[in-house]
Symmetry: C2
Subunit: 250 residues, 2 copies
Amino acid sequence: MPQVANFNYAEGVTSATFPASAPTGLQALFQKLPVERIAAGQSLFFEGDAAGHLFEVVEGSLRIFKIISDGRRVITGFLHDGDIIGVSLKSHYLYSAEAVTDIKVRRISRRTFETEVDKSPGLRPEVFAHLCDEMAAAQDQMVLLSRKNAEERVCSFLLKELLRDIDRRQSDNIIELPMTRLDIADYLGLTIETVSRTMTKLANKGVVAPAGRHSVRIVKRSALVLLAGNDDEYVDNTVEFASYARRSHH
Amino acid sequence: MPQVANFNYAEGVTSATFPASAPTGLQALFQKLPVERIAAGQSLFFEGDAAGHLFEVVEGSLRIFKIISDGRRVITGFLHDGDIIGVSLKSHYLYSAEAVTDIKVRRISRRTFETEVDKSPGLRPEVFAHLCDEMAAAQDQMVLLSRKNAEERVCSFLLKELLRDIDRRQSDNIIELPMTRLDIADYLGLTIETVSRTMTKLANKGVVAPAGRHSVRIVKRSALVLLAGNDDEYVDNTVEFASYARRSHH
DNA sequence: CGTGGTTTTGAGCACTCTCAAATCGTGTGG
DNA sequence: CCACACGATTTGAGAGTGCTCAAAACCACG
């Protein structure tokens, strides 16, 4: 069944997955706005702040996260170029946002955004689709956090990044991971040590190959798919790639 | 489960029996539609099905969930009377839905829903707000699953149910938990044994008191709040309710 | 009262975490 | 250009929380 749910991925509007190729109508709203530069480590906004703006990531990556008692951090997502931040907000930001790398963003005020969307009814379905995709991504993440072991989490993560690159037609099987191990750990609900050990294990198995500190080469994509344990389908070893191809082509 | 079925409300007069907050404009869309009864354990729809309908829960509780490989189940939410299912869907259901108790629901077709929303622009902000609230809930759940220990998870869950009752002005400090331990476990990312042990521990601490198999009396709400470890703020024991009111506030 | 399902309790184990140290990389200054 | 220094990552050893497997207790139902 999830193969159907995953058509959403294919449609490419997951918060984490905007095809760079086809800017959406939403992105057009930002087109004329000035680009701002923000240095790695700097914050765009904090959880609980009045949600004044939406942002479009023009270049670079950033993380969105929440902090709970005694400083535990939960990264609820990474955003990359082409992504839009802040659609699913009402009055206040639900999370903080920080630049992972030096980034460039454009910002639009919430008010402007709303009036623009009201003006062009064609945008409304797009806003709606965006919200649904965010929701689908959140649900997938809940599944990951709730029931997957360390290996499945890491594989799911790598696979997600890989598919993102494929959507953007940059699939040389090398994925860039600009974030630190700590970021990945806080995203996957693990510790840095466990992430590290799991990566090592995957490398030993020949599933991936180290390619510098911030990138990884995917050697056996099919193994990655299996290990990600994504869904229910009885996946014959020889077919699971087809299953993924189907997703990303639709 | 029969505690709900036994109430025997006259058909069609139901709206009077559901207090709580004023019915939203969204709920008004369902007002004239017939009530359907569904027995405990029956499915409303399955993950991956074409998303033909939205549902309003008139009475009873249900669970929404996803299944992954080797049968692991993740319950992503419980829904109770007054709740609406299916707003955040595009073409296909993201999850399956099953009745926990005997339930009554009303259904509206996706198409009708969309045209109605288009007709009454006043509804649009409501749909948007609904989506944002769903998103906020999903994020909270990610935090729970990612970084909370068993005790914090169970306390968070109890607290959530309690606050729901308070919102509906039924706060006698006894919360109904119509779902099974297995449901709770699959919602909290734990096993039934761990849920059970944690409940026992909370009872031993005097935080809660057993009150039949499907309900619990909250004895020390303030302790529950502390143990839920929800956020960063240092919450004074006397203020925690205010803190929660603020948070669930739209 | 039995019967079947659910929940609780118990004992042992495994996966991941914690704490600690070694190694690697990257940027800096001499 | 090299050496150094600091942070990030990896590796190691041991501990702990929650899981698994098993059995007892509980409860609703006939």
